[in-house]
């Protein structure tokens, strides 16, 4: 798998037609255009009323897209392969489980009185502990081969969902209402309080990531090479997994689990970036995510007049892409 993350040498042989930064710039322009379209189209002369309403949803969409893109690319860097994503490994389902456990452990009444933000931080903290323990153990020492990990992730996700479902049945029907409001968030209904808190969280995470971009480039070379280049692989991996856990908490808290979106966006970015440097790949992934999410929502809502089905479309396209990727890899390994 490491050979796959090494290609800088081949890149210099076949010079890309457009420089990486130019590509990011173009993606940025498209993203801006999509955002403008999302905000300003079809206002029917009520712009001062409609636009502020849309801003909140826009911010949520951008946050979610950015968080998923960043977390997926970073996760693929530290795990050293391009098939695994946090959501495939059950991160999203784990967050749903944590939310359920919190409602189960504390009464819904208590939760109603506490701030949504306090709750978010509590859940994120729990999520960090769980995710780090679990995934450190799974990924440490590389004891399982890739396909086993994928399957383990899928089954873990099912397990988390089932336990959550089981606990949800144990919760009082009235308390379940509270939980349902938490769990069935979607791209159209987003909690206002949370948007701004999570914006802050994502901002901080992005800053941390920006300061360590070069470290991630080294991490992508694989553990032995990274260690010989003076990077503490184990510590950095733990840190990245922690950042990923936080980002997944953010996106899941805002819109619920989205399984395949990260995979789509990350692969789009690898194709479009023309380089393997994180300084280019990460913004490219983030921008692609924004274009897909905001643009997708725009097209579905305004042009096709269907709502809240974006996640289903992503699931369909993403699932098929994933199957294609797997078969492609398996055949290549064979030849």
């Amino acid at each position: 798998m490491t050979t796959e993350t090494l290609p800088p040498t081949t890149v210099s042989v076949r010079r890309p037609r457009l420089g990486p930064w130019l590509r990011v710039g173009i993606a940025g322009l498209i993203a801006l255009a999509v955002v403008a379209g999302f905000l300003l189209a079809d206002t029917n002369g009520y712009a001062d009323f409609v636009v502020p309403l849309r801003v909140r949803r826009l911010v949520a969409l951008v946050l979610v897209g950015w968080a998923i893109a960043l977390s997926t690319v970073l996760f693929q860097t530290v795990t050293g392969n391009r098939i695994l994503t946090p959501s495939l490994m059950g991160f999203d389902a784990l967050y749903v489980l944590v939310q359920t456990v919190v409602v189960f452990a504390f009464s819904a009444q208590l939760l109603n009185q506490t701030d949504a933000r306090v709750q978010f931080f509590l859940e994120t903290a729990l999520m960090l502990v769980f995710a780090l323990t679990l995934f450190r153990w799974l990924f440490s020492s590389g004891r399982y081969e890739l396909h086993v990990l994928v399957l383990v992730g899928l089954v873990l996700a099912t397990l988390f969902r089932s336990i959550a479902g089981f606990l949800q049945r144990l919760i009082d029907p009235s308390e379940f209402q509270v939980l349902q409001n938490l769990l069935f968030a979607s791209f159209t209904t987003v909690d206002e309080d949370l948007v701004w808190v999570t914006a802050g969280v994502v901002g901080v995470v992005t800053l941390i990531v920006v300061r360590r971009l070069r470290v991630y480039d080294v991490l992508a070379l694989g553990a032995p090479l990274a260690t010989s280049l003076g990077v503490d692989h184990r510590r950095e991996t733990t840190r990245v997994l922690a950042l990923v856990a936080v980002l997944v908490s953010v996106s899941t808290a805002l819109v619920g689990p989205v399984t395949f979106f990260g995979l789509l966006v990350a692969h789009l970015a690898y194709q479009l970036a023309g380089t393997h440097r994180h300084a280019v790949v990460l913004p490219m992934a983030g921008l692609s995510a924004v274009i897909c999410l905001v643009g997708g929502q725009f097209v579905l809502e305004r042009l096709l007049d269907v709502t809240t089905t974006l996640s289903v479309v992503i699931e369909l396209v993403g699932g098929l892409t994933f199957i294609a990727l797997l078969i492609h890899r398996a055949r290549r390994n064979l030849s």
């Binding site: 081969e145 089954v155 049945r169 269907v306 809240t308 289903v312 369909l316 699932g319 398996a330």
Partner: protein, 320 residues
């Protein structure tokens, strides 16, 4: 897996006595299951609700476990069963489709449509898997689960657009609380199919050894596989239509049995059927007692147990 020092003394407990014990255990569970309930017991309650429920638990448990074994033989992979290759999801899609097209269709029609969809789903899975290199054991269930996810997304899409989402959720979680006289009889069809599987057990074992081998042994491989997959699809469809999805059952039971008595289908099948019934009965009783007088559907209980067992199977595998 037998201990090599065995010739010293043959253990007095033969497999068949254990099997008899298993049957007795299932009967005991069935009696317990019949007498658990919120309403007071009367003959009326017994005939209309309790007995049908217990019978359908036994039937669907045995059938799903047997079907799981069948699928594992035919695909030659330990990790497959209807709910990990998209068969169940396809049946669900069929159910939603027919409900949308002809809401008043009789149960029988719904079942046939669901079965056809299940068959198509299984066939699609096999086509995709055939393009893969044979050695990729782990990749087979991964692709199956993914295909299931894609089909489920289509179902959700359809259901969402027609305000069926809630109904869909209640359909897709295996639940026996709605079983009443007159609403479960389709499951007897499943019993017939299980008998067919018993009769043809040897053929399936041979077919499981591969196309070349079975052709050499004088078996029409394609026909056996076709019959096997039809049984799998029909059983999945009937169970989905009558009680909903009971995930992983067909995965857990055959794997336990093959660890106990080996891979011979004829020897394993009675065990698989008995253990399957017992497990579903047990899970249902558990689901009814944990939060008495409310019920936790058996599908949810099995989801937790089954996923846990699947993980155990994966992680205890020797590493490279």
């Amino acid at each position: 897996m037998t201990v090599t020092a065995a010739p010293v003394r043959r253990t007095p407990i033969t497999p068949s006595t254990v099997l008899v014990g298993g049957v007795v255990g299932v009967l005991a569970l069935a009696v317990v299951s019949t007498f658990i309930g919120v309403s007071d017991m009367s003959w009326e309650v017994f005939w209309i609700s309790r007995l049908p429920r217990t019978l359908s638990l036994i039937l669907s448990g045995a059938a799903l476990a047997v079907v799981g074994l069948l699928m594992q033989l035919l695909v030659r992979n330990r990790f497959v069963e209807p709910s990990t290759v998209g068969t169940t999801e396809a049946a669900g899609l069929g159910l939603v489709t027919i409900t949308l097209l002809a809401p008043g269709a009789p149960l029988m029609v719904k079942m046939v449509v669901a079965a056809l969809f299940a068959l198509a789903g299984t066939w699609l899975f096999l086509r995709v898997v055939r393009t893969m290199p044979v050695r990729e054991t782990i990749l087979v269930p991964v692709i199956g689960l993914m295909l299931g996810g894609v089909v489920a997304a289509m179902t959700t899409f359809l259901a969402f657009h027609n305000d069926l989402l809630q109904t869909l959720n209640s359909w897709m979680i295996g639940d026996f609380s709605g079983v009443l006289r007159g609403r479960y009889e389709l499951l007897w069809l499943v019993a017939v199919l299980v008998v067919v599987a018993f009769v043809a057990a040897d053929r399936f074992t041979v077919a499981g050894m591969g196309e070349t081998f079975s052709t050499n042994a004088g078996l029409d491989h394609r026909k056996v596989v076709a019959v096997g997959l039809s049984i799998v699809s029909l059983v999945s469809a009937v169970v989905v239509v009558t009680v909903g999805v009971i995930p992983f059952l067909g995965l857990i039971v055959p794997n336990i049995v093959s660890a106990m008595v080996g891979d011979n289908a004829r020897r394993g099948l009675p065990w698989v059927a008995v253990l399957g019934s017992g497990l579903v009965l047990g899970c249902d009783i558990l689901g009814r007692l944990v939060r008495y007088p409310y019920e936790i559907p058996v599908g949810t209980v099995m989801g937790v147990l089954g996923a846990g067992f699947f993980l155990y199977m994966l992680l205890r595998r020797p590493s490279r």
